[in-house]
Symmetry: C2
């Protein structure tokens, strides 16, 4: 019926502004494309994904029709990606990798009890680093069930002390009392501006005083990044806007609202694509802090905890 009459309701509201779902093949199709690229045959790819060959064939075909692009060169001896297909597959790989991180993260959040490895981590680490570590861990030790609790540093420390967590990750300035620790990474805060901002072209480094006197886009008081910033400035920062999520801060900065202070982990992509430009800072401004793994004092972690620790760049 929707096809008959006059295509009312749904069609009058055209597929909505930013609805990617209808323009991007679903994850299964993207995985299939990658499998074809890797294995050189639709049939083998189908087998790997546990579907029948005709299903794979039709799915690839419909993806090609959908995108309006020839992705696969079929021959009686197998299938290879076209040049276009290679490029599309590279873009697809990014989506699939993000999906893998999503899966690793959400699965760890769910597996609360009965896991062999219980991890507690602060937000920044949980958000940006842990999924990758978990993927690496599951490749090295398949089947290790990991649970994740995300919270602030005090909460992480408490869980590790009480034995509710086997391993913790914190981004505080100091090591929590009574816990052993190892630095696993550094969190370098960047001052970033949109490419159009005056600071983007500036040669002379920005000094601490300037930073302290310039209204900045910041996370709310009490957040980890805010603490590090104020510590480095030796006083309070002047907020232009206070936002409650790193994402909101990035969005405001990209929009040109002003200079923002964020972890390099959070803006790696934006910086690489030049949507944001890091501002040179005076050597006196120390916006670096350690990201540390922590565990109960005395004995080094063993078993899966040790394994995970070794992945995080000892």
């Amino acid at each position: 019926m929707s096809s008959s009459s006059s295509g009312d309701r749904h069609d009058t509201t055209p597929p909505a502004a930013g609805v990617l779902a209808h323009r991007v093949p679903d994850l299964g199709a993207l995985e299939l494309l990658l499998a074809v690229a890797r294995l050189g045959s639709l049939g083998r790819a189908a087998r790997e994904l546990g579907i029948s060959q005709p299903a794979a064939s039709s799915r690839v075909r419909s993806m090609e029709r959908h995108l309006g692009l020839a992705l696969v060169d079929r021959s009686p001896r197998g299938s290879r990606l076209t040049d276009t297909g290679q490029l599309v597959a590279d873009w697809a790989r990014k989506v699939v990798e993000a999906a893998a991180a999503f899966e690793a993260g959400t699965r760890a959040l769910k597996d609360r009890r009965d896991s062999r490895l219980r991890v507690a981590a602060s937000m920044t680490i949980a958000e940006y680093l842990l999924p990758g570590w978990l993927i690496a861990l599951s490749e090295r030790r398949p089947g290790t069930a990991v649970s994740l609790h995300a919270g602030n540093s005090a909460e992480v420390a408490r869980r590790v002390r009480s034995g509710e967590a086997d391993l913790g990750f914190v981004e505080g300035l100091s090591v929590p009392e009574g816990l052993d620790s190892a630095v696993v990474a550094h969190d370098l805060l960047l001052v970033v501006v949109a490419p159009g901002h005056p600071w983007a072209r500036r040669r002379r480094p920005v000094t601490g005083e300037e930073l302290a006197s310039t209204p900045l886009i910041l996370r709310e008081e009490g957040s980890g990044t805010r603490q590090v910033l104020e510590e480095a400035l030796g006083g309070v920062a002047r907020p232009l806007i206070e936002l409650s999520s790193t994402t909101a801060v990035k969005t405001a900065a990209v929009g040109g609202a002003g200079p923002a202070v964020v972890s390099e982990l959070a803006v790696a992509e934006e910086v690489a694509a030049r949507r944001l430009v890091p501002v040179g800072l005076d050597a006196g401004v120390r916006l670096r802090r350690d990201l540390r793994a922590v565990w109960p004092g005395g004995h080094r972690p063993v078993g899966p905890a040790r394994e995970l620790l070794s992945l995080t760049r000892v």
Copy 2:
């Protein structure tokens, strides 16, 4: 039938090793979650995505059931994400952003003719940078149809000269004859190793001679990165393995096969997550090259080309 008897065929081959599609909500659900986070209400999110409120409600619910996580706090006055939901939404955002890049890229590949802006770009740029630029462009000038042709530098130059492309992006060492150009970014090649590799802990910078005498994981002869490397080494490089895609090179390096040479654009994520470690190089080794926009000599680009150029960090 498949449910009766003994759960044969499909169930014996358990959902296949790395099939994410069944474990990760589809793009529509992720977009919906982000919309709920942004708008604070299931109903409003539904409207934005052009679906009914019950559809949104049930979809979020089934996503929560699927993940085994409570994502949304529903109240008679609206819905907000739970803490867990925030974290999950952050992971979801990465997937959606990758999907947006996919969409922007594939759409440009398709819109061959009749576009207002025809771009030709070398692979590295097309793969890593252009999708982001296209997204930014479409935000600033909605509705600008862009077409993309990806090829090597000579091909890009030819298209720009012949008028088949309005704007080109090349990564060659020199500016093609008869074209004006502007540097839009730099492509810094990195030597990367897996965290376990001896070079990962090494303090002393690696010299050009060392690099030249060490077997490296490389792209095939003739590739852009290979050219730059050999230019910098003043001779030929010694390949440990030659691979035909940047992705394959990365995979081999992550697996610990040896040192690899790749663009920083290609490994930003791996480096951030410490799956790969960049090796310090002697100051004498120049592995940087310019990424340039090029256009027909004489007149600066106007219209959409000018707009795109201005996005690429003037």
